[in-house]
């Protein structure tokens, strides 16, 4: 999302945002859950218990029961419509939705149109740290999520911000590399010393490296599962053509 789009969404959706509360003590909303797992797009922990809260990006999975969902940046209601047309609609049951103030809230139209099921969900808003800093808007640190490089590391930062990191046990990142083309500049071909070779999105590689840095920085004992595990960090850095990744300033 460009800074201009963020500004447009923020201004356009003010009247809806005004109606939404900040999560306050989010720990209360997720009180009954003993364990939290992060499930990136296409990833699943494979666990199913009523004490497990799955933390996902809004729109990354079709069936969402007992989830903490974070809606940010590139989500579009078009996804919801496409699935509805395929007679396989998105379902959200017993979920907590956190909407970043700069995400496009037009997906709520899909609720009116009956394209998705939204049952027993609580909806909150959070601040977009980077947007507010850039626009000289006041920031309330308890509710402001700094931008981390895409997807899964963003979810890690969200849990950190919301004081839920101590319940996080697993991070699952399973980037799909099957349909990627090597001549796309957004993609990178990765080779390992062990002889593996696969194509990945640059953003997924960065995401993986940042997750490792975050884990280290916050001394988290979380189990990090990724389809990139078979490659070493230096393989990934080499693929990206950089010498190291840097975390944002103190989160």
């Amino acid at each position: 999302m460009t800074p201009l789009e963020a500004k447009r969404n923020f201004e356009h959706d003010q009247e809806l945002l005004e109606l939404l509360p900040y999560p306050g003590e989010l720990t209360q909303s997720v009180e009954g859950y003993e364990e939290i797992v992060i499930e990136g797009p296409g990833a699943s922990s494979g666990k199913e218990t009523s004490k497990l809260l799955k933390c996902r990006k809004f729109g990354s999975h079709l069936n969402n029961d007992d989830c903490l969902l974070f809606a940010f940046s590139d989500f579009s209601r078009k996804l919801l419509y496409e699935q509805f047309k395929k007679k396989n609609p998105y379902i959200f049951r017993n979920c907590v939705l956190l909407l970043e103030e700069t995400s496009d809230l037009d997906w709520l139209v899909a609720v009116t149109m009956g394209w998705i099921q939204l049952e027993d969900c609580q909806i909150y808003k959070v601040q977009d740290f980077d947007f507010r800093s850039r626009s000289d808007l006041p920031v309330q640190e308890n509710f402001a999520i700094p931008g981390a490089v895409p997807e899964v590391s963003r979810l890690f930062v969200l849990l950190l911000r919301m004081g839920l990191l101590n319940r996080l046990t697993e991070v699952n990142q399973m980037p799909d590399s099957t349909k990627l083309e090597i001549d796309d500049p957004e993609n990178v071909s990765l080779s390992s010393d062990a002889g593996f070779s696969e194509v990945f999105k640059r953003s997924d590689l960065t995401d993986y490296l940042i997750l490792q840095e975050l884990k280290k920085e916050y001394a988290s004992t979380v189990s990090l599962n990724s389809s990139l595990e078979k490659f070493s960090n230096s393989d990934c850095l080499k693929g990206l053509g950089i010498s190291q990744v840097e975390l944002p300033a103190k989160l």
Binding site: E15, E18, K78
Partner: protein, 307 residues
């Protein structure tokens, strides 16, 4: 031009929603049980003492409580109006209504429903085409479902009804001259006028009237339009004290352009001629995509009342 760009943005953004709505085939069936139509613009309504049961036709966010209404939703800050009422502890309600949305109307107001900004119960939603927008962007249109633009909300509703074949059922119009803005200027002379508000004062033998320039234009348009169509609904306005010519003079306008007959009652497809990216000046009716007959100039229907 900005309005055409905004219309294009809404039209493209809302294609998914629009594709789920049908075009209205027979709105005349809504008249069953009614002896005619009352077009209700914004603001307090005029009581004409009509005893018959009339179907109320309104714009989407002009009235708070809407039951058994035919609603035409076109360009306007609908969601913002819904939100403003919630802050006052009130809520827009639409019950048993038929809502016809223009394809260039920003449909983000539909996102207000799950947020509780308005209530929508037992309503049917249809779509129609935006005539001028399609013409400007040279997008093919079907005359049966394309509503030409008009000056002012009240006259747009009349235009919509004429296009839908319901013009002859209009019994009364209570339109924008009663809306809150002109009332505000009539009652509160001390109010500071914002720089972008074009408020004019018209002198007459018994005093003066202050009103917005666009309401004057709306009144001129509606009177000329009704006369041109030979319609005579109940329609009163304090601006009716002045001749069309006097009002045009106050507005520093020479003439107004009414839609041509083809735009109001024609069927089939239309092809536009003229420069791309400019308002249409000419068009021709098509059959299977092939232009038929003579070029029709939009300026053929200019109306100017001479002294």
């Amino acid at each position: 031009m900005e309005r055409y760009a905004e219309a294009l943005r809404c039209y493209l953004k809302d294609q998914d929603v629009l594709s789920e709505f049908e075009y209205p085939v027979n709105l005349g069936k809504l008249l069953s049980g009614y002896s005619g139509i009352e077009v209700q613009g914004a603001g307090p309504q005029q009581d004409y003492g009509i005893q018959e049961k009339l179907l109320k036709v309104r714009m989407l966010s002009s009235h708070l409580i809407n039951e058994d209404c035919l609603i035409f939703a076109f360009f306007g800050p609908h969601r913002k109006r819904f939100a403003a009422k919630i802050k006052e502890g009130k809520q827009y309600v639409f019950r048993n209504c038929t809502i016809v949305v223009e394809e260039t109307c920003d449909l983000s107001w539909l996102a207000a429903i799950p947020m509780g900004l308005c209530v929508l119960e037992n309503c049917q939603i249809y779509k129609v085409q935006d005539y001028m927008f399609r013409a400007y962007h040279k997008i093919p249109l079907k005359l049966e479902y394309a509503i030409p633009w008009a000056v002012g909300a009240g006259s747009r509703l009349v235009m919509f009804l004429v296009r839908m074949g319901l013009g002859n059922s209009i019994r009364a119009i209570s339109s924008s001259q009663y809306c809150w803005q002109s009332q505000r200027y009539a009652m509160d002379r001390s109010r500071t006028v914002a720089a972008n508000e074009n408020v004019l004062t018209i002198q007459w033998e018994n005093g003066e009237i202050q009103t917005h320039a666009d309401y004057m234009m709306g009144n001129v348009f509606l009177r000329a339009f009704l006369e041109d169509l030979g319609l005579q609904p109940q329609y009163e306005s304090h601006l009716n004290l002045f001749t069309i010519s006097q009002l045009l003079k106050s507005l520093n306008q020479q003439a107004i352009v009414l839609p041509v007959r083809m735009e109001l009652s024609g069927k089939g497809e239309v092809q536009f001629e003229g420069n791309p990216g400019t308002p249409p000046t000419h068009f021709r009716v098509c059959k299977n995509g092939i232009p038929q007959g003579e070029v029709i100039k939009r300026s053929d229907s200019v109306i100017l009342e001479q002294e």
